[in-house]
Subunit: 348 residues, 2 copies
């Protein structure tokens, strides 16, 4: 009678629902952890079953990043909150040029949430983590009363290791640098918004949600001195470039025509009253590098499956106003300011 | 004009409220991050202002742990969700015998939440982190619509470094080992429940919320070979000991009379229909060590301010049933099983 399980019946993953006891710290929570989380995330660190996971490190640099995911709806074309919670955090690690190693997972679940949906989300997280080569090594489960949450919120925190000689940072953009984007912008936000608004288009628009660490590994192998990498999530490409301009104390001039936007995304944006430059992406990155590295970097990006639509979209300039400007297709210029209000609530 | 701020007016921390734009990724969010979070948590890693924090490590062992905090009410006697979110995660690191280094902080805020309360909570987190010697190095802010959250939920994830030769783990309890607790049990849960139920007692009951890494450092310095340490939070002392019994494949016999419980906590528990052995603690730990180390460990604990009421409360036994048994003051024995239902919802 080793490792006695303290519960008598299996959880009903088909018809069961979360109740307050699943967050109590007692028997019901232990069972949920065993039969949903540990089952899906199975790895030796998690199976230590302590309140923390222990791992060995070698002298060097590491990064840590955290994100909470509150996307609504939980399931959308091209992904769900589970895969998104893995991709988003893996990408924030990758943007430091780092190799992602470990994720933690914290769940805040609303009373009454269907175990079937929770299990589906957890399986999707597990699958995304496996594909990205990261282990989910420790976690936490809380339950809140009906009406005090919204299905499930997930926090993931990630740890990665940075290769020697690689130091991208938002404050390293320099006048003359080239600005690149890894592909079409706006896909994720439009996919989520279309679902939320009940819109359907002739071509279904899928979220671009994807783990970018493989693309990044290829990029830093070719150009270790990349100045800046960042994923344009909430606030979209325009807001991300404004953040970098502010951090680096520079301006940028972009060529509007060179920014890749899918035709169906552009059409949906018009219908929804959105500007694709401010719409969230979950599988794209912005890279800024010295002008002499731009061609090499672009070629490396284009030869990776997640960078086939990569493009050089502009140049960093001296600018005491830190403006991000767009050269329009008609030859004019306009300022692409920070997102001021709220374009898309709960997009990630 | 260096480091231009993109906003024109300061946030109104006295009368302002969170709106959806504070979670948008745009200008309003950047301002919230600057004027509430970065201001309070100020440290060089956070001020990198990237989506991840980079730090140097030396070869060795690290631990990572995560917890989401959903305590209700947000403010309670002896603490608030902010200090709790620091103490709870610092303690989970400390239970590995590790020195806590860095925390991440993820906020899920309900639309309409008062900026004044958010600022108070963030200042409390900052103060608790400074006192514990940990830096909050990266964070994330999400906003959900009114009625889809409950004020604020906070996730903290912690990273710590484990000294050589120290390896406490829940699976290392051995027959004959001594079981110690660092002080009175039930204080936190009763403090929160009393507030929630609007009860007041002659003596006010305070949460024991505290960072235990200093106590742990003294303990592992004296007895590096401590077998198990764990903080009895949700589910209380009884559930924590059952978890350890299950992990280690042993039983335990505790002497009920030796378990320290404050008189006013015992009285409040009677009134509330609670058993103090199942009530959450946030500044206490359970330690299990070889019998020959018990006296040394007890003395070290008692001479630390957070361990003055420490006691040896029982012994580990061989038991194929993994039972945790209580020898009652009347000479009988009863099984202290896992918490089965939900004793205290949203206690941490």
């Amino acid at each position: 009678m080793t490792n006695r399980q303290p519960y008598t019946r299996k959880l009903d993953l088909k018809n069961g629902r979360i109740d307050m006891s699943h967050g109590s710290g007692g028997k019901a929570m232990a069972q949920l952890v065993d039969e949903v989380f540990v089952k899906a995330f199975a790895n030796p660190l998690l199976e230590q079953r302590n309140d923390q996971a222990m791992f060995e490190v070698a002298t060097g640099r590491m990064v840590v990043t955290t994100d909470s995911y509150v996307v609504s709806p939980l399931f959308f074309p091209g992904g769900d909150i589970g895969s998104l919670a893995v991709h988003g955090t893996v990408n924030d690690i990758a943007m430091a040029g780092a190799k992602p190693l470990y994720l933690t997972a914290g769940f805040i679940i609303e009373e009454g949430f269907a175990l079937k949906d929770l299990d589906r989300i957890v399986m999707s997280m597990a699958e995304a983590a496996r594909a990205a080569g990261v282990a989910i090594v420790t976690g936490d489960t809380k339950v809140v009363e009906r009406g005090k949450g919204d299905g499930v919120f997930i926090n993931t925190t990630g740890i990665g290791v940075v290769p020697p000689g690689v130091s991208p940072s938002g404050d390293r953009a320099r006048p003359g640098d080239a600005v690149l984007v890894s592909g079409t912008v706006g896909d994720h936000g439009v996919a989520v918004m279309s679902t939320r608004e009940g819109l359907s288009f002739e071509t279904s628009i899928l979220s671009d949600s994807a783990a970018l660490h493989g693309l990044v590994a290829a990029m830093v192998a070719a150009v270790p001195g990349i100045h800046v990498m960042r994923d344009p999530t909430r606030g979209g490409l325009a807001t991300t470039l404004n953040e970098i301009a502010r951090q680096s104390g520079v301006g940028m001039v972009l060529s509007e025509a060179s920014i890749p936007v899918r035709e169906e995304v552009a059409a949906a944006c018009e219908l929804l009253g959105l500007d694709p430059l401010y719409v969230a992406n979950e599988g794209k990155l912005v890279a800024i590098c010295a002008p002499e590295d731009a061609e090499t970097l672009l070629n490396v990006m284009k030869s990776h499956p997640l960078g086939v639509d990569a493009a050089v979209i502009g140049t960093v300039r001296e600018d005491s106003h830190r403006f991000v400007q767009l050269e329009t297709t008609f030859g004019g210029k306009r300022i692409a300011d920070w997102l001021a209000g709220e374009q898309l609530p709960r997009i990630c």
